[in-house]
């Protein structure tokens, strides 16, 4: 159903830049391993030199001691071959050992940084980006980059060096034939360049499609109950099949591209070998070359087959790493929009009186043209509780989210005790504000950890008090008490239990400012009354902003503000507003629905809903 990759507003970062630009920019991560890279390159070259030397020794054996009937020389040279062989293996061992630890270290370091960065990107970023896309970057793409760092890059360098050295040796052995072999680099280069271009596009497409698949899987897991409730398994399976098939098609296309190129690349050394055979034979016949030399020449030349054969694979790997780096960079290059201003201050809890003021605050969601909030002027006095009331979708939750700066005001300012919130350090501000969201957000970890989300240092007593206040003592009755892991999203708890835990979390540690979004909506009347009574005691001394839908909860508030069409149209005591503001009365009143008579939508029965 949804457009593929829609949640992925891929910024056009590579405006004409070199395809390897992003990969190049990851080099700071290589810096700690510079010495290792040097060593492993040396080891690799050494190993290759050893492996090149072996056929040379063999040639010497064949042409020398064996031909000259010299057993001592034979064993000496064979000993040399053995030594070279052992050195080669040892160097390979060193190289791979070093390589694995450095490339894993780099991968882990990038991953940690991307994760840390993602946590700092604002809610508006996460609203738009599918988490499957983020996930595929942090897992699949990074492993592609790691593979390039640990194999592709190394073999690229190694094979180039091998190629050069072998060609030089060939030229030394026989200049004319050697130059012929050297000339075969031209077609190799042309084929590779063409391949790289095509493969780059395919590789990016594939990675994006992998992200789409991950997104759908994640969404399915989250929406599993909805899927089950409607029996929409077949539809989701069909949707998944579509995405998996797209991935399949790209994979097949990539495979075809690689097959074509590999075969072509392979053709080059083979044809060269054929030419060398004919020309070499002629040279031997003409007396310009010994048979031993020709054998050595050919066996050296055979060493070029592997570097060339692997070239296609290395280029593919390199292009994949390049596009993966692009994708990782897209995340890392997104600046966190909400950060500490220069010179931002820390406000100690003890110094906070708690006067919260909205001054001509307006807000519009990024990417949207119409403001959700306009020119909000509102003051909450220290210790006062202000309730926000308004129709569904009028902007109450949005207003609350501005206080802990989950979103940034588009105009005007919010002050706490006269300090613009933007002049406070984020951590300091958020430490002062306790939040309960409309939908309780719980994580699959222990109840304790969920409660002390922002205060890992909270003590036993504080937690107990917060739980008591939220009437959430049931937590102690869970199988392992507070150490019990709550299911993912808290789904192993009932709705009311989740909401009470979220409330307990908000009030834990007595924050200076409480921001509660419809905190009692999932509670039954009786529990609601108990929580209200307890909350009231806390609210007497704490500045609080709460969203309220039910008249019963409004009793918690000292004053009420009515939000209509993004503006505050009335502020005052509940009873005042009730008496003087008809719109206020209407939004709380359980009278007959206005739409039912006033030409609004006519609710219909089965017949109407059917097409």
């Amino acid at each position: 159903m949804p457009a593929e990759s829609d949640g992925d507003p891929a910024p056009g970062v590579d405006g004409g830049r070199h395809p390897l630009h992003s990969l190049w920019r990851l080099r700071p991560y290589l810096r700690p391993y510079a010495a290792e890279f040097g060593w492993l390159l040396l080891a690799g070259l050494g190993a290759t030199a050893a492996s090149i030397a072996v056929p040379l020794v063999v040639q010497r054996v064949v042409d020398g001691p064996v031909a000259r009937q010299d057993p001592a020389g034979l064993f000496r040279l064979a000993g040399l071959a053995l030594l070279l062989g052992l050195v080669e293996a040892l160097l390979i061992f060193i190289r791979r050992w070093v390589q694995s630890s450095s490339s894993m270290g780099i991968e882990a370091a990038i991953r940690a940084d991307v994760y840390a960065h993602l946590q700092r990107l604002p809610a508006s970023f996460h609203d738009r980006w599918q988490s499957g896309q983020l996930l595929s970057r942090i897992i699949s793409d990074l492993s592609v980059i790691r593979r390039f760092l640990s194999f592709g890059l190394f073999f690229l360098v190694l094979n180039l060096v091998t190629y050069l050295v072998v060609v030089l040796l060939l030229i030394r052995l026989h200049p004319a034939l050697g130059l012929l072999v050297a000339a075969s680099a031209v077609p190799l280069f042309l084929i590779s360049r063409r391949f790289a271009r095509h493969y780059h596009a395919a590789s990016r497409r594939m990675q994006d499609q992998q992200g789409d698949v991950a997104t759908l899987v994640e969404e399915t897991a989250q929406g599993l109950r909805t899927m089950k409730a409607y029996g929409r398994g077949p539809e989701l399976a069909a949707r998944f099949a579509g995405r998996a098939r797209a991935l399949h098609d790209t994979g097949v296309g990539k495979g075809r591209l690689l097959a074509r190129t590999s075969a072509r690349l392979d053709l080059v050394p083979n044809l060269t070998l054929g030419v060398v055979l004919v020309a070499g034979a002629a040279a031997v016949a003409g007396g310009g070359l010994t048979i031993g030399e020709l054998v050595a020449f050919v066996s050296l030349q055979l060493m070029l087959i592997w570097p060339v054969q692997s070239l296609g694979w290395i280029i593919a790997n390199g292009q994949e790493a390049a596009t993966a780096a692009d994708r990782v960079r897209e995340v890392l290059d997104t600046p966190p929009a909400i950060v500490d201003a220069p010179g931002a201050i820390t406000l100690p809890r003890a110094d906070v009186r708690g006067r919260l003021r909205f001054e001509r605050v307006s807000f519009r969601y990024p990417g949207s043209t119409t403001p959700v909030l306009r020119e909000i002027d509102l003051t909450v006095e220290p210790g006062e509780t202000l309730a926000l009331v308004g129709a569904t979708g009028c902007g109450k939750s949005t207003l609350l989210s501005l206080v802990p700066r989950l979103h940034e005001v588009s105009g005007g300012r919010i002050t706490l005790d006269g300090h613009d919130l933007r002049q406070l350090r984020l951590a300091s501000l958020r430490r002062l504000v306790g939040v309960a969201f409309e939908e309780p957000t719980l994580f699959s970890m222990s109840v304790w950890e969920n409660l002390t989300l922002g205060r890992p240092d909270a003590g036993e007593d504080e937690v107990r008090a917060a739980l008591a206040l939220a009437q959430a003592d049931f937590a102690y009755e869970l199988p392992w008490g507070l150490a019990t892991r709550v299911g993912e999203q808290g789904l192993s708890l009932s709705g009311g239990q989740r909401q009470r835990l979220a409330l307990a979390r908000a009030v834990l540690g007595r924050p200076a400012l409480l921001v509660l979004d419809d905190p009692l909506s999932a509670l039954d009347v009786h529990t609601e009354a108990l929580v209200e009574a307890a909350l009231k005691r806390v609210l007497r001394t704490t500045t609080a902003l709460l969203v309220v839908h039910r008249p019963s909860t409004i009793a918690l508030a000292d004053r009420v503000a009515l939000l209509e069409g993004g503006r505050v149209t009335a502020v005052g005591r509940h009873s005042e507003l009730l008496a003087t503001v008809p719109a206020y009365r209407a939004v709380l009143s359980a009278g007959p629905p206005p739409g039912a008579t006033a030409g609004g939508p006519t609710p219909g029965g089965r017949g109407l809903v059917r097409s």
């Binding site: 791979r96 980006w129 897992i139 969404e219 409607y230 569904t392 939508p601 029965g605």
Partner: protein
């Protein structure tokens, strides 16, 4: 943050923050026990799975192998022809006869062309097969995840599901992407080189064979160690993904509660565990592969000595020794690739084991093998619970011996304190779970015997947690009935009063709702979920606190619509706001999993029970 993360003691901290799961099998599918028998069984299962996946491609695989044989034959012919050219072509050439050399060169050219065609054909074909297998596997696993019960998903977690379908499949794709050809080629070239070696010089070949016991011993050590290491890696990466998915999903809470730094520490531990696990696996191959090299190189030196000595003694010709040594390199070189492939295979097998474990899991709430059709087609909607006992854990029942009969067409309001078991009753009717004892029936048929498609057409549950999928508003409403046209979608929205807010959105019904419907307010999401349920048009509608985030007038509007819509269907309405009760024919008060009051609202209100008290309280709170 760099260079491998801080050195933390790993494990201990991780288990502490995660808390103790109530289910011992929480972190794996049931098949993934850690006992040796279970490991062996799973390995066997994964082999069966692999065979099963490859079966439909038998013929293409045969063709691929044929191409590969062709390629290999051509590639092997190369050096042989070169040597032939040197041995047999040069002497006549010296004598002025280029004929033999030209013939050899022509054969060489032909071999090259064959190699090109066969290689290209093989690589294309194997990519096709590999991708087809992956597609098949992906769809199988996804489909199976859809069939598995809600209870399974609750303990398995979405992150792990994502991990299976992304990272694990990546490991398998890596194998399919480049491994198989190197395997077959390596094996083939080893075999053919072995034949050539035997043919060239038997005693020298016999010396070469001495390497095999060492190779075998080394490989067995590697196989055992790396299987375990890769298994660990799969588990470690799953934990990274689980944590990542969850913390990104709850990013608002993370930020509002300054959870970032602790999350980073936790992530660093998990990330580092993963790094270490993979490092272990890579170090094994970093040891194994040079180990093979040592064996190969020692063998070359030995053959050189022995062969040289034989030439000296006149037992062999110098050309034979030269050729033998040339081929000997070709004999051991593919073993490097083979070891590499073996490593990828181990990694893919570990991933395949995880997938096999999932596929092995039997859906606890299974589709009936022989479904009983509901009488009267789509169902009329008579619901009955017959001595139903249910608990999420068998030792802690939530409902005990519950009996409840709801005649078709009745609207029942279910009220009671949070945690009383209201949602549990609803979930049983939607067959998210099956009762531990007793039955839930629809029109007299046990739900366990109703085909899933039929059940879902008849019964729809709007859960407490509204979930919207990425896509447009219209698409989300249409989720209720995919065949519905735009007019029907709008009519459904209109019926519950969502039309106005939807048309006010920038693109109306075509507005993208973003991830999980984040573009909409919570109340708006509930309205969309409501419209979806109405569009689905079931005989039995279950509403679990479906209006909790709405303002009072909107809720009233929805109630009013409900009054009309529910007139001819069975409905189970769970709500804390007693306004719902006004449209109900019957009220049930639930406490501690038991129905303590049952009757028409008016009668209960007049009595002196709990409902009457609640009702009074509620009336007083109204304006």
């Amino acid at each position: 943050m760099t260079a491998g993360g801080p050195a933390r003691p790993g494990g201990a901290d991780v288990t502490r923050w995660r808390g103790i799961a109530t289910d011992p099998d929480a972190d794996r599918s049931r098949a993934e026990d850690t006992s040796p028998e279970a490991v062996a069984r799973l390995r066997a299962r994964s082999r069966v799975l692999l065979r099963d996946l490859l079966r439909p491609h038998r013929r293409r695989l045969g063709l691929a192998v044929a191409l590969l044989l062709g390629q290999n034959a051509a590639a092997m012919a190369g050096p042989y022809l070169v040597m032939l050219g040197i041995d047999a072509g040069i002497a006549p050439l010296r004598a002025g006869d280029p004929g033999p050399l030209v013939a050899v060169a022509a054969a060489f050219a032909a071999a090259t062309v064959v190699e090109y065609v066969a290689r290209r054909g093989f690589l294309t074909l194997s990519a096709r097969i590999g991708q087809a297998v992956l597609l098949d596997l992906r769809q199988r696993v996804y489909g199976h995840f859809l069939r598995l019960s809600v209870a399974f998903h609750e303990r398995y977690t979405s992150g792990r599901m994502v991990s299976r379908l992304t990272s694990d499949l990546d490991s398998i794709a890596e194998l399919a992407g480049g491994g198989i050809d190197s395997l077959v080629l390596a094996v083939l070239s080893i075999l053919s080189v072995a034949a050539i070696l035997l043919w060239l010089d038997l005693p020298l070949a016999a010396v070469t064979l001495l390497a095999f016991p060492f190779l075998f011993w080394l490989s067995r050590w590697f196989a055992r160690a790396s299987a375990a290491a890769w298994r660990r890696t799969r588990e470690a990466v799953a934990l990274v993904i689980v944590h990542f998915v969850e913390s990104i999903r709850g990013i608002r809470a993370v930020q509002a509660f300054r959870r970032e730094s602790r999350n980073e520490r936790i992530f660093a531990t998990l990330n580092d565990d993963y790094r270490r696990a993979s490092l272990r696996a890579f170090r094994l191959i970093a040891t194994y592969s040079p180990g093979i090299k040592v064996i190969g190189n020692v063998t070359v030196a030995v053959v050189l000595c022995y062969g040289g000595w034989r030439v000296l003694g006149g037992a062999t010709e110098i050309g034979v020794l030269a050729a033998f040594l040339l081929y000997l390199r070709r004999f051991f070189e593919p073993m490097q690739e083979l070891s590499q492939f073996y490593n990828s295979l181990q990694s893919a097998t570990a991933a395949l084991e995880k997938l096999a474990g999932v596929l092995d899991e039997r859906p606890a709430v299974a589709e009936p093998a022989h479904p009983v059709p509901l009488p009267g087609g789509p169902g009329r909607g008579a619901v009955a619970y017959r001595s139903v006992t249910f608990g999420y854990r068998p030792d802690a029942p939530i409902l005990r011996d519950l009996d409840l009969a709801v005649p078709a067409g009745q609207t029942v309001a279910l009220i009671g304190p949070t945690g009383a078991g209201k949602s549990t009753i609803a979930k049983l009717l939607a067959r998210f779970h099956d009762p531990l004892a007793g039955t839930v029936t629809l029109d007299g048929v046990d739900l366990r015997e109703v085909a899933d498609a039929e059940l879902r057409r008849a019964v729809v549950l709007v859960t407490q947690e509204t979930h919207l999928f990425g896509g447009t508003v219209a698409e989300n409403i249409r989720f209720g009935r995919p065949a519905a046209d735009d007019a029907a979608v709008e009519a459904a929205a209109q019926a519950i009063g969502a039309h106005d807010f939807i048309t006010a959105l920038p693109d109306g019904y075509a507005t993208e709702v973003h991830r999980r419907g984040g573009r909409l307010s919570a109340g708006q999401r509930q309205l969309v979920a409501f419209a979806r349920a109405f569009l689905a048009d079931p005989a039995v509608l279950i509403l679990d606190e479906a209006t909790s985030s709405l303002d009072v007038p909107t809720e009233r509007l929805v109630q009013h619509a409900l009054g009309t819509i529910l007139r001819d269907r069975t409905a189970l309405v769970i709500a804390h706001r007693l306004s719902t009760v006004e449209i109900a024919d019957r009220v049930l008060v639930l406490e501690g999993g038991r129905i303590v009051e049952d009757g028409p609202p008016a009668r209960l209100a007049a009595a002196a029970g709990r409902y009457a008290a609640l009702h009074r309280q509620w009336r007083d709170s109204l304006l």
